[in-house]
């Protein structure tokens, strides 16, 4: 199904020719284009020459052994770290020098490996915070409770419940986020990220700590989210059933470098990937 797409559009820098995007997204501009991305921490190169293109409605996977630099890539894409080298284009806009908040406004939302919710606020407030930039009224309207406050808050309330209903969580709206069970906290992070109205959703180990039936439900929900919102999703995950089950393109990272890219079938049979995960076969 996915098809090879050549990107030799710059004569100076050789472009990688092994980025996969699904066939249905070929006519549209990609949602994300990372070129020669790299970051050094002091003398340590954490990520080097990372290239990736993600199609408009693609579900992409980022896998690799522990410490390969997967979360660092997410932190680079969301500008938690400023890259030392390379460019990141979101919807064709260069994000050079932008802050995390500005990149979010361009349409990149994320969840975190170690859950980062607003623990002391209610579930509903967490989702409304995701919708922060869609709620349009200022500080003065809020303090004086002008009509715009009541109107916008009502719309936000309805929208928050609607988003929570994706995971059947609308009954938990009044609960304190910090007291939710682990799985529900992970789902709430996804809902909060969706609240920002993203075009690219980055999920950092969404299935961590979930049992097989919860994981299966999550897989369905990820596909449901992609189909409903028509957005691209990129996920880091160690659960290979999930990755191979729903990802259309997979990028394998090891020691900060991309060692393979392709469809799940390509990756599964790629000897370099097998070596990275299991080590080299000893010659008999």
């Amino acid at each position: 199904m996915p098809k090879l797409k050549s990107q030799n559009d710059s004569p100076l820098v050789p472009m990688p020719t092994d980025s996969y995007i699904p066939e249905r997204d070929l006519g549209k501009s990609p949602v994300l284009e990372a070129r020669h991305l790299g970051i050094d921490f002091g003398g340590l190169t954490a990520v080097d020459d990372f290239n990736l293109t993600i199609g408009r409605t693609e579900i992409a996977g980022l896998i690799g052994p522990n410490g390969a630099g997967k979360t660092t890539v997410f932190n680079l894409l969301t500008k938690v770290y400023q890259p030392t080298r390379g460019t990141i284009m979101i919807d064709g806009i260069d994000t050079h020098g932008m802050t995390t908040a500005q990149v979010n406004k361009l349409g990149v939302a994320r969840t975190f490996q170690n859950i980062r919710l607003f623990d002391n606020l209610s579930v509903e407030d967490n989702v409304k915070l995701g919708m922060h930039n869609q709620i349009k009224y200022g500080m003065v309207s809020g303090i004086l409770r002008l009509p715009s406050y009541w109107k916008q808050e009502r719309i936000a309330h309805e929208r928050a419940l609607e988003l929570l209903s994706i995971f059947d969580m609308q009954d938990l709206a009044g609960v304190k986020a910090g007291s939710l069970p682990y799985g529900a906290q992970r789902r709430l992070e996804i809902v909060r990220a969706l609240g920002t109205n993203p075009s690219l959703l980055l999920l950092d180990e969404p299935a961590a700590g979930m049992n097989p039936s919860e994981t299966a439900e999550l897989m369905e929900n990820i596909i449901k989210i992609r189909d409903t919102f028509q957005i691209a999703i990129m996920l880091i995950e160690h659960d290979m059933n999930l990755v191979m089950g729903i990802c259309e393109g997979i990028c394998v990272l090891n020691f900060g470098k991309v060692i393979a890219k392709g469809t799940p079938e390509d990756i599964q049979s790629n000897p370099v990937v097998i070596e990275a995960y299991l080590g080299k076969k000893k010659e008999a």
Binding site: T100, N104, R116, D125, L129, H132, I143, K176
Partner: protein
């Protein structure tokens, strides 16, 4: 799983409590049931309540430590006194002049807040505590050097940095008045502050703080406190909302300072020193971080307590400290909390919502 109670109910209970207390105290005052010392405490208590509520916005809601809140009070007090006294002939109506003085005090304190906040709130860590601590001391020294007078030509102002200048250097025309005399502070201020004005100021600051906290901006401020990285990831402008909370907090402290300054005919800058900042911080911590009605209660009790303990003479401050420690231990005791919850079912819900 903890269910959050509807926060609006707690807000209304807070407003109702303040209004009720105001009515009761006004009636008692008119009946002559208050002692003279307590009557003299009424306006300062109002000021300290506003100070505690406003500092709670920075410390409890935003989660940044400020050790110079008295500095903003000082800026508000002296600019308010100058405004009220300078306009004495132009505006004869006392309540109107008081209102203008409060607004001027708030505006100047807000400006000071912005000057401190703009560079410091960009940093992460404990820098705000250090800089506000320094700010409080700097303001004290600056006002000690200030000589201000007014006459028919307008305001005259000297900055007496070398210590060689005096009141005569102001060059006041006949009929002019000296408002601030350097280290002697503001003297001969007409005391136009009233308990009613204090009550109105408390209500205004409650409306500002509570409505801000329950709005879009307040949510963003609390999000920064709970998790800055997550807040940035949903597109919240960190510096903007930190500054919003900090400047609002400074403005309210300035208004409280103006009211305080107009309650005494003499006021020196050393009144607003580090001890005052810490005192207000104690109100906030004791009342509970982010808990507005707790701040009001703590400010009231801890302002009255030293006066009420006058009978103990030399042991007054010792007993004050012991009471403080006992209250802190008691409010942290799980058994006592459970007992309280059984006795007053509402208090438990309130505590959870404000936890």
């Amino acid at each position: 799983m903890k269910k959050l109670k509807k926060t609006t109910a707690i807000d209304f209970a807070t407003y109702a409590g303040v209004i009720l207390a105001f009515v009761v105290i006004t009636v008692m005052k008119d009946q002559g049931m208050l002692t003279r010392s307590l009557k003299g405490q009424l306006v300062p208590i109002c000021c300290y309540i506003v100070m505690a509520v406003s500092l709670n916005l920075t410390v409890g809601v935003l989660g940044e430590l400020s050790l110079g809140h008295a500095g903003f009070m000082s800026v508000g007090a002296f600019s308010g006194v100058v405004a009220a006294m300078g306009l004495q002939s132009a505006i004869p109506s006392e309540p109107l002049r008081l209102a203008i003085a409060l607004v001027v005090g708030a505006a100047f304190a807000a400006m000071a807040g912005a000057i401190v906040g703009v560079p410091v709130l960009r940093l992460r860590g404990d820098y705000l505590a250090i800089v506000t601590l320094a700010f409080g001391e700097i303001i004290k020294e600056l006002i000690n050097c200030l000589i201000v007078g007014v006459d028919s030509q307008g305001l005259h102002l000297i900055f007496n940095a070398t210590g060689t200048k005096g009141v005569s250097d102001l060059g006041l025309l006949e009929g002019g008045k000296v408002l601030i005399k350097g280290a002697q502070g503001a003297t001969g201020t007409q005391t136009i502050a009233s308990f009613t004005a204090g009550f109105i100021l408390i209500m205004v600051s409650l409306v500002v703080v509570l409505n801000l906290v329950r709005s879009r901006s307040g949510r963003a401020i609390m999000a920064l406190r709970d998790n800055r990285i997550a807040a940035e990831s949903v597109g919240i402008n960190v510096t903007k909302y930190k500054l919003m909370a900090f400047v609002t907090s400074a403005a309210l402290a300035g208004a409280a300072g103006a009211l305080y300054g107009l309650n005494f005919s003499n006021l020196v800058a050393t009144k607003f020193d580090f001890n005052t900042s810490i005192l207000v911080l104690v109100f906030v911590v004791l009342g509970g971080l982010g808990n507005i009605w707790g701040s009001i209660l703590a400010a009231t009790v801890l302002t009255i307590l030293p006066e009420a303990l006058r009978g103990f003479d030399d042991y007054r401050m010792l007993i004050y400290a012991v009471v403080l420690i006992l209250v802190m231990l008691a409010t942290n005791n799980p058994q006592l909390k459970a007992l309280l919850a059984k006795l007053i079912p509402h208090s438990r819900k309130g505590e959870e919502a404000n936890a």
